[in-house]
Amino acid sequence: MDKDIFNHFNQPWLPMTALGIFVTCFIIYVYWTYKKSNKKFYENSSYMPLHDGVKHER
């Protein structure tokens, strides 16, 4: 029966396509996130929770 299922629904392109999408996206966002020019911005972002109670912005 398991074999029958595989024969009737053997579409490996489906998970492979998804894997391809994931790997592509992963490479793009890892590259972007760890790009040198972005370092300062993300370092600053990590402080955001600590600056939520500012009474006077000036």
């Binding site: 595989f6 629904f9 996206c25 911005f41 993300y42 972002s45 600590l50 009474k55 912005e57």
Partner: protein
């Protein structure tokens, strides 16, 4: 510094205040419902240790209370905590008051009304019979409506924000809101019969796949992603340290959101689900190790430099332990999804052990830390007693350790006993009850471990209410920030940076990330007619059997009995032929179950005489002396309700079950005729005549039918 980009902000200065009252309301609800959820949890833990704790009352019998426990723990306790934390952090991270106060109140009272509805329906057996999605259709619709209210309030606040960059915690919230909506709607589709009864539009394998896609991701997107978002906000706040690596949090977010959605089929390994779907679920589950541990490491490393405070500060103490348990649970989850490990752990108590390492260890402890942070802030005071908080911490830790160790031991013990085969190829423990008796002592340990956790929660309840009492709400604070105009834009900002400032586009991309995996997993469901080989011998249930099946659902039998014989030598030896996909095509909803406190029932039909079932339901100890099953004596007292049968058959027909018009028109007559046959057999053995129109007759009809269509065919078929 007010902006992460260090952009020099100019423009119009605006004043604003936070709606903290709604946060306070959700906090109080969290504490109350948390206590209720744990009380029910402890009750059912003792019910498993001794059947006498069911007290012979249908409304508090295990099968009715267990869904109440899970719904209360997940949606009432964790749900309210999640809303409190999100509303607190969302406003502060965006420098904006919540979008609409009225929507906030509708959200709060609507959610509480849903919880009360669940508490009023589940003990009465009003259930859809789908794990973690038991609530009947009117409540399911109400959940969707209130969720939309929450979403409008949340996204409305995002639009009115004064901070350009959307902090990573809010990304997790966005993913939560979108994914839970998709999961809830897709899995909740059903056709109503009455106001209290509906049937799932899916059946058998299709229903199983949709259900566990939902079930797994309910854990992922209701108990994990929102709490990771809260972790990214509250751990830095409590430690007064920045997030260890913001860049890691970005990678953590996208990887987790993309991968998590695929892992659902690991709940269905070795079942009749297509092999490739099972493998896919397993592979992506293992891949989850990386983002999960990335998040845990990021959280724990945020505490660098303040480890000395972890020893003394209750907030940090709870958060550090919660992160540790998160790491442990997310290591164990992928481990359990490896097929060979799963063949041991599945259907055993190892799984509740794993689940509670997550829900108690991660959710409860993190919520405790967050509450100990928020309550003093919102009531302008200090924690009432750090000593009580410390006692709570150790009680919870010891209780969870007892719970976890006993359940893993019970699970492995039982599994090894199930699969023990001697040199002659026979089961060493052919009688299922032998394996139950062995683990009952561990059920007692679990019950006492759970009691410890419950007492720890009561201590927190006392401590927090005393904190509230000694504090004051005080005046509403007013803050000042620049309006979000072009001065907040960073020069030469890149694509992802712009994306981080565009909530709607960001939301759409998050949605696509979860839909890719979902679509691929759901495709086999939509095409199930093509790949499930029809078995001619499998026919729709007879009317009386259908009514019996509804009683099976009502009593929550699926919570202790599976209906799925896996293709393993010991299972085939114990139960009979392994299950096939074609057997379940008329099962709306499927009833494969996820736990075997009692034996599998897929081939129970015809195994015992009617009289055995009659005696078994009235008092299981009459036929199996050491059984821990509750008594179901009300089934011989309550009359079978035939009034909705015709409608039920019609709805089933609409769902694709091949009942003819004649079948539907003569449904009641057929049911009565079949009931007469079964009761005549029972009366011949001394059972009083009055039993003929009682519910138990329908349940016996269903049990005797189960698995017989395909099960009776020769093996080579």
């Amino acid at each position: 510094m007010s902006s992460p980009s260090a952009v020099h902000r100019t423009g119009r200065l605006e004043t604003y205040s936070y709606d903290d009252q709604i946060v306070r309301m959700f906090i109080v609800a969290t504490i109350i419902w948390g206590a209720v959820a744990m009380l029910v949890g402890v009750t059912i833990a003792f019910q498993l240790a001794t059947w006498k704790m069911n007290f012979g009352l249908q409304w508090i019998t295990f099968g009715r209370l267990r869904p109440l426990h899970t719904n209360a723990a997940i949606f009432a306790f964790c749900g309210n905590a999640m809303f409190a934390g999100i509303y607190y952090s969302h406003q502060r991270l965006l420098k904006a008051r919540l979008f609409n106060d009225v929507l906030s109140r509708i959200h709060f009272w609507g959610w509480q009304a849903i919880i009360v509805s669940a508490a009023l329906t589940l003990p009465f057996g009003i259930t859809r019979g789908k794990e973690y999605a038991e609530l009947e259709w009117p409540i399911t619709i109400a959940i969707a409506v209130i969720w939309v209210v929450f979403a409008v309030n949340f996204f409305g606040t995002l639009i009115r924000r004064r901070e350009r960059h959307i902090f990573v915690a809010i990304w997790f919230y966005i993913a939560t809101i979108l994914t839970v909506a998709v999961l809830h709607i897709v899995n909740g589709l059903g056709l109503p019969v009455t106001i209290f009864k509906s049937y799932s539009v899916y059946a058998g394998v299709q229903d199983a796949l949709v259900q566990w896609w939902y079930g797994h991701n309910a854990v992922a997107f209701f108990l994990t992603t929102p709490f990771l978002g809260l972790m990214y906000y509250f751990v830095p706040k409590a430690a007064n340290r920045p997030v260890y690596s913001y860049r890691l949090s970005v990678v953590h977010f996208w990887s987790l959101v993309f991968i998590y959605i695929w892992a659902g089929p690991h709940h269905l390994l070795y079942t009749t689900l297509p092999e490739w779907v099972q493998t896919l679920g397993m592979v992506f589950s293992i891949a989850l190790w990386a983002p999960s541990w990335g998040g845990m490491i990021n959280g724990l490393m945020t505490l660098r430099g303040v480890w000395d405070k972890v020893r003394t500060d209750p907030v940090l103490k709870f958060m550090a332990l919660a992160l540790t348990f998160y790491g442990m649970a997310t290591f164990e989850g992928p481990l359990l999804s490896i097929k060979s490990v799963n063949s041991i752990g599945h259907f055993t108590d190892w799984i509740p052990g794993h689940v509670h390492a997550g829900t108690i260890g991660w959710n409860y402890l993190l919520i405790a830390g967050i509450l100990y942070y928020m309550v003093p802030k919102l009531w302008n005071t200090e924690i009432f007693s750090k000593k009580i908080a410390n006692t709570q911490f150790w009680l919870a830790t010891i209780g969870l350790a007892l719970y976890y160790v006993s359940m893993v031991s019970a699970g492995i013990t039982q599994s090894l006993m199930w699969r023990a085969i001697d040199v002659n190829g026979k089961l060493v423990y052919p009688n299922f009850i032998e394996t139950v008796v062995k683990i009952v002592p561990m059920y007692w340990v679990r019950a006492f471990g759970g009691t410890f956790v419950f007492i720890s929660f009561l201590l927190m309840t006392y401590n927090l209410f005393k904190t509230m009492n000694q504090g004051t709400i005080g005046e509403i604070e007013v803050f000042e920030a620049y309006a979000l105009d072009d001065s907040s834009l960073e020069e030469n900002a890149g694509h992802h940076r712009k994306l981080e400032g565009l909530p709607m586009v960001f939301a759409v991309l998050s949605l696509i990330a979860i839909l890719v995996g979902s679509a691929i997993e759901i495709v086999p469901s939509l095409l199930s007619n093509q790949y499930i080989t029809k078995i001619d011998a499998v026919k729709p249930y007879k009317p009386l059997e259908l009514l019996g099946r509804d009683i099976y659902l009502r009593e929550g039998c699926y919570l202790c009995h599976s209906q799925q014989v896996r293709p393993m030598a010991h299972e085939v030896l114990r139960y009979g032929k392994n299950s096939e996909a074609g057997e379940f095509i008329y099962d709306h909803p499927f009833q494969w179950g996820s736990k075997r406190t009692g034996p599998d029932l897929a081939r129970i039909g015809g195994k015992y005489p009617n009289m055995w079932h009659y005696r078994h339901m009235i008092n299981p100890r009459d036929v199996t002396p050491q059984s821990i099953m509750p008594i179901y004596k009300w089934l011989v007292e309550q009359k079978l309700d035939l009034s909705t049968l015709t409608k039920k058959l019609s709805v089933m027909k609409q769902l694709g079950v091949p009942y003819s018009d004649v079948d539907i028109a003569s449904g009641v007559e057929n049911a009565q005729a079949q009931a007469k046959l079964i009761s005549a057999d029972l009366m011949n053995q001394g059972v009083p005549k009055e039993v003929e129109d009682k519910e138990l007759i329908a349940l016996i009809a269903y049990l005797q039918r189960m698995g017989t269509d395909y099960g009776s065919l020769p093996v080579n078929k």
